[in-house]
Each structure stands twice: as C-alpha cells, then as structure tokens.
C-alpha cells in the first residue's frame, strides 16, 4: 500500500490577529496539527498600540484544503480576519533577502554587476566580501540567489513573503 498525495497550489494568506502571547504557536500549531504546509510565515505588529499583528502565510494545498485552512484559522478566538489574497485577486508580494558573497577579482566584479541588474544594495563590504540587500517577489530573489551561487555565495537570510492587495480597499 502507498500513501497518495494530492496536487497543491500556492496561496498567500493575510491573517489579522490579536497580538497576544502564544498567537504564533496557535497559528503554526494549527498547521502542523491538521497537516497543512507552511512555505513561509511572517508576522509583525501593525498598529500603534501594538495590539494587532498581521501574519502573512504562504501555503500549498488543494482548493478544498485551502478552504479548510481559511475556515480553521478564522475560528481561532484571537483571529480578526483571514483573507486569501491569491483567491481574492491582484496583490503585491515582496520579500527581502540579505545575501553574503565572498570573492576577489572577477567574481567580485561580476557579483557587483549582477547586484546592479537586480537592484540589490550593498549593505556591508570588506576587501573580500559583500552583503547585498535585495527585495522583490520570490522568483526574483530565487534567481538572484542562484546567480550569486556562481560568484561566491556564502549565506542567505530571507524574510519570507509579505503581501497586500492592490487597489484602495483593505484586506
């Protein structure tokens, strides 16, 4: 007997929550307890009084499971609202990465050139290394990191996706 996997699609969810102790464990634990995937998760306070946080979750699931994920998140007591940004239409997704590259000579020059193409900024430099800051969608950052692999990539730190809907309405 073999266990079958269902086909999944990637969705970005915005979850507005009360900023109370344990909220992140509550959300993350819901995903593990029910067998849902988390590809990335970011969280930050979004109000002056620090009472409300916005969590952006990128998940992969079949359409039926996605409906469940939204419903399950929505019924948690501290959750204000849940929006499936991918399902609801056009939205902007951004991620920030810090990329450390080591090298001298041609590799160093090539790394700088590529950074320019990708509008990455140098935020730290030594005689033999750079740290680049680059923002963009997942694909852009993936490509930049791959290219840096050719010219002396040492380490990558990525924030995970934040996302917001286009247009004048709030999520």
């Amino acid at each position: 007997m073999h266990i079958q996997q269902q086909t999944a699609e990637r969705h970005t969810l915005a979850v507005i929550v009360d900023n109370e102790p344990g909220i992140l464990a509550r959300i993350a634990g819901l995903f593990t307890a029910r067998g849902y995937n988390i590809e990335s998760l970011t969280v930050s306070e979004i109000t002056d009084d620090k009472a409300v946080s916005r969590i952006t979750i990128v998940t992969s699931a079949s359409p039926a499971v996605l409906e469940q994920i939204v419903a399950q998140l929505d019924r948690l007591v501290p959750v204000h609202k849940v929006r499936d940004l991918t399902a609801e239409g056009d939205h902007v997704e951004r991620e920030l990465a810090l990329v450390k590259v080591r090298g001298i000579g041609d590799h160093r020059i090539e790394a700088l050139r590529l950074a320019e193409v990708y509008r990455a900024r140098v935020v730290d430099a030594t005689i033999s290394s750079f740290v680049f800051e680059v923002t963009g969608g997942i694909d852009k950052i993936d490509k930049f990191v791959t290219l840096m692999g050719e010219v002396g990539l040492i380490e990558v730190a990525r924030t995970g996706i934040v996302a917001i809907s286009r247009g004048k309405e709030a999520a």
Partner: protein
C-alpha cells in the same frame, strides 16, 4: 476600596457566573483557590479520584443540564491528567471551563516542581486557553472563558492561573456577567442564518422527492427548544429522520419518522435512505468518517444542505450544495417559520416511505435469541423495558456495549444520552454518570459499561460513595475488549492479540469494598430479576452482567465501505483484509 486576592476574585467570579458545582482535585499550585473556596462556602466541590474523571464528570454535568461544566485541578500532573477530558469535550462540543493551577510566574520555564506548559499542551485540544499573569485581569478572563465555552460551537476553555496570581491582590468590581458577550473584539459566532439561504433550503426541501433529515449533537447543544423545532420540521415535511451517535434523543425514537442511527453501526434503513436520498438536510452534524463510510459512495445522488454553527465543519469531508452557518435551533426555527408561511402542502412522500419500509423490513437490529446465554442486545432491551418510563439518563464507556446501547436503548428526549463520540474515550461513562447525577439529583442515571472500559476510571466508585450518588453501573461483561476482538475477527483472521480481559476483578466484591451494592447476573433467567434488584436499591449499584462472549455488533459498515455494503447478522464474515482496509480506522 479594598483589594481581594486572585483566589477570592476567582471564587466570587464563579459565584457571579452562577457556578454551583466544581469538579476537582487539590494540589500545591491551587491551594490558595481551595482555601478561598473553603472560606466562601458558596460552591459545591466534588472531589474526584483522578483529574481525568473531573473533566468527564463536568462533561456529564454539562451534557445533561445544558450548563457549563467546571473543573479545578493543580499544575503539572493535575493539568496533564485533564487533557484527555479536555480533548473529549473539544471533539464532542461540550461547554467546559478548566481552571488549572500553575507554578508562580517567576518559576515558569525553570522546570519547577509540578510545572508543565499547560497552555502549550492544551492549545490545540481546547477551544481557547489563557495564562493569567495579573490578578486584576482574572475576573474578566474567567468571564470571557465562560462566554467562549458556552457560545457558538461550545467547547472546553482552559484558564491557567499561577500561584502568585492567586495570592496577589487586585481591585475587584462586580460587573454583570453578560457584558463580555457583547464586547469581545474578535470572537463573534454567527448565530442567525442568512434569510436568503433559509429560503433556498425551504425551496429544496419542498421540492425533494426523497428527503432525509440527518441530525447531530448540534441540535442537543442548541437546547431543548431545538429538538422541539426538529420535531415540528419533521411533522410538516413528513421527511424521515436519522441521527448521529451524538444526536440521539432529539427526535423521539418512538416517532414513525425515526429511522435510527446512521453510519458504521447504524440501521439498514437509515444508511440506505441516506444512500438513495435526493436531498440530505444535515443539521448540527459534521459528516464524520463513522457516518459517511466511503466518501465517494456517500449519498451519491443527493443535493446536500449543511447547517452548522462552525464554518470549518462545512465542506470539510463532504462537499455540500448549500451551506448555512447558524445555530441549529435558530436555523430550525427559521426553516419551520418560512415553510409554514409559504403554506407548502405536506409533500407526498408515499413512494419514498414505501422504499424505506422495504429496508426497515430487513430488521437490521435483529439478533439471534439464546436460552443459554444472555445476548448483550437483549440485556440492553431488558434494561430499556424496565426503566424507560422513568426517562433515565444513560452514559456509556466506549466499545461494543456503547454501540448496542445506541442501537437498542430508545431515547425519547434530548440530554439523556451521554457518550464519548468523537474521541471515543474509554473510562468516560462512570464519571459522566456522576456529573449527570449531580446535575439531576432525582434522575435515574445508568452507566452502560464494558468490563474493560469500566476499569479505566474504576476509582470513581469512591466519588459516588462519598457524595451518596445512587448511580448504577450495568456492565456487559463478555471478558473481551469486544470491539477490538470483533475487528480482529473481521480483519485479522481472529488473531486475538491482547483483547482478552484477563485477571478481571470480582466486580461485585469490588463494588462492595467501596460501599456499593454489587449484583451478578449469570444467565437469562436472572436478567429481569437482577435489573429489578438494581433499580430497587436506593444507592449506587454495580451490576456484573455476564453476556455471550463472542457476539459481534451488527449491523456494521466495514471501514472504508459504502452505506450499501452493510454486514448484517446473517452475513457475518471473518477473515483477512488487504492493507488498504487495515490502514483505515
């Protein structure tokens, strides 16, 4: 204004909320609360023998009275022992508030004596939980906990209270208990259905040729009024009604429209009617795997309407055509009102009922008679015959006896049937009976048990003795973990791995050791007399009823089979199943 200690604030808040009974067990981290309770004298505390029993007793109390059950336990092992009951209450949507002691805030995270991460452990087995770090927040938090436990889809809420928070003082202002309900920031369950959806449901119901009402525990949770509305809806539509394990009693079993329970051990007529229906109206049930059987063969030709207070129950297992998020009682009321306002004539369901009668004629609950041994089904029927006029409250443990009780004990009203459905917790029945008896002092409360399950919380015999509770335990003793043995017979060529109940205690003398009356029933000729003796005794009685050892519970839909593939007594099979069947629960 004088300040009060956190412990005193807690007790006052409980009193303000109308709490009369608390089930609990003291320990180091709750001593200030126990002292405050002692000094107040306003709350009746029931001392259980194990914290798990406190949670099941609270469930029994809640399920039989409609009021939330309240549990008070200490930190560490007190809290972890309560976890099974908390999970049970979550699965069966039972309103319960569990107050746990915690080590002082300064010691949290240091692996202190009797420290456990209670909020971490209970986060995913409770509806919500709190760690209270400030006595000034305690009253408000406890009120919110009761509101969340009892509203929307009910469930268990845990409030973890460090010992220093119980001792520290704060100002306490009494506020009406109801204010929290209206002001919660994020938690606002939808109670009333969208009117347009109700209209659509009525359209579908009126147009259906083969409708069936599939009802569940949500109707019981919605209060006795919801059961009345279900009866009215059944009357005006003439539709057949089936129910999950948790929903038994919402429609009287004596109603001609009652088809019996559906699902794995449901009746032939209920499962075939579900299979052949053109409209399934599901009210307060959740298309659980025990109910649906094989999903791709579940009610294949029907349109489905699902009324549930929990949006996440909708489209979880079965896709439905019309989803209505609402309280079951309010939605039923709206359905009845709209249906009547439109003056729909009662639909002509003659053909449908004729088909149902042919399924009924199979008499799927039939079982072979025996003059030598007591058939367990016969014992349940005899118990029903001797007690039903007293409208008893029945609790059960988990296993064959539970299914036989569900099949053969006919319930006429809600809140009389207390069983662990979702989690299937052996050891539920005795503490639940204790809780139910405390909530219903005059009622006849019987725990229908198996000889294996009863041993899981047997220590609670002492609790019933202490509080002079006249609960009855009726053990169907077949000397096997019967359901395990049955599955081993059906799936594993009768290799009875560890399912024999060896080294059983003498239940009669065990009961007597705790101050109970003990009765043994060994043959069919002793059955009615033994039951009469049990009922005549004005105190707790444990009955060891020896039943046929190898009887199987039928009808049965084997796991992963369709509703139409039922095993009946006449089709009894045994042997070995393939791996995909073995992997199913």
């Amino acid at each position: 204004m004088t300040e009060k200690s956190g412990a005193d604030i807690l007790i006052e808040t409980l009193c303000d909320l109308g709490v009369e009974i608390v089930f609990g067990y003291p320990g180091g981290a709750v001593l200030p609360i126990y002292d405050a309770m002692f000094r107040s004298g306003r709350i009746k505390h029931i001392l259980v023998r194990h914290e798990q029993a406190a949670t099941h007793a609270a469930e029994g109390y809640a399920r039989s009275t409609g009021k939330p059950g309240v549990v008070l336990v200490t930190s560490g092992p007190g809290a972890t022992n309560a976890v099974t009951g908390i999970t049970d209450a979550l699965m069966d949507s039972i309103p319960m508030v569990v107050l746990t002691g915690q080590v002082p805030t300064g010691l949290i995270g240091t692996d202190a004596f009797q420290e456990a991460d209670t909020v971490g452990i209970t986060r995913h087995c409770s509806k919500h939980n709190y760690l209270v770090k400030d006595p000034a927040r305690l009253a408000e938090t406890v009120k919110e906990a009761f509101h969340i436990a009892t509203s929307g889809r009910p469930g268990p809420v845990v409030v973890d209270i460090p010992k220093d928070v119980q001792v520290a003082t704060a100002r306490y202002v009494r506020t009406p208990a109801t204010t929290t309900a209206t002001v919660h920031k994020t938690y606002r369950p939808q109670i009333k259905a969208d009117q347009a959806l109700i209209e659509q449901a009525v359209d579908m119901l009126a147009a259906a040729e083969r409708p069936i009402l599939y009802t569940g525990g949500g109707i019981i949770n919605a209060g006795p009024g919801a059961s009345q509305m279900l009866r009215e809806l059944a009357r005006i539509t003439g539709a057949p009604v089936t129910s999950t394990l948790m929903g038994l009693g919402a429609l009287p079993a004596s109603s001609p429209q009652w088809l019996g329970m559906l699902g794995m051990h449901g009746t032939y007529e209920a499962n075939h009617a579900m299979n052949q229906a053109d409209l399934v109206l599901c009210i307060g049930a959740r298309f659980d795997d025990r109910v649906t059987g094989r999903l791709d063969a579940f009610s294949p030709n029907s349109r489905k309407v699902h009324i549930d207070i929990d949006r996440s129950s909708i489209n979880k297992n079965v896709r439905v055509d019309l989803a209505i998020v609402a309280d079951a009682g309010r939605a039923l009321e709206d359905l009845v009102r709209v249906y009547k306002a439109r003056r729909h004539p009662k639909p002509d369901l003659t053909d449908w009922w004729q088909r149902i009668e042919t399924w009924r004629a199979v008499k799927s609950l039939g079982f072979p008679a025996s003059a030598k041994e007591i058939m367990p089904q016969h014992a349940i029927r005899a118990l029903w015959a001797a007690t039903h006029h007293r409208n008893p409250i029945i609790t059960t443990e988990v296993g064959q006896h539970q299914m036989w009780a569900a099949q053969h004990f006919d319930f006429e009203s809600p809140n009389k049937w207390l069983t662990s459905g979702g989690l299937g917790t052996m050891g539920y029945g005795l503490p639940a009976a204790i809780g139910a008896q405390l909530g219903n002092p005059g009622a006849l409360v019987i725990d229908i048990a198996g000889e294996a399950s009863i041993q899981m919380n047997i220590q609670e015999l002492g609790t019933a003795t202490q509080y002079r509770l006249p609960v009855k335990i009726f053990i169907l003793n077949n000397q096997y973990m019967g359901m395990v043995r049955q599955w081993q017979e059906l799936t594993y060529s009768s290799r009875y791995s560890e399912s024999y109940s060896d080294a059983l205690p003498d239940f009669v003398r065990l009961g007597e050791a705790y101050g109970w009356k003990g009765i043994r029933i060994e043959g069919p000729d002793q059955l009615d007399g033994g039951i009469a003796e049990m009922l005549a005794y004005d105190g707790p009685v444990i009955v060891d009823c020896r039943v046929a050892q190898l009887t199987n519970c039928f009808p049965m839909i084997p796991s992963g089979a369709a509703h139409t593939d039922m095993l009946l007594y006449s089709s009894e099979v045994s042997g070995e199943m393939d791996d995909s069947a073995k992997a199913l629960v």
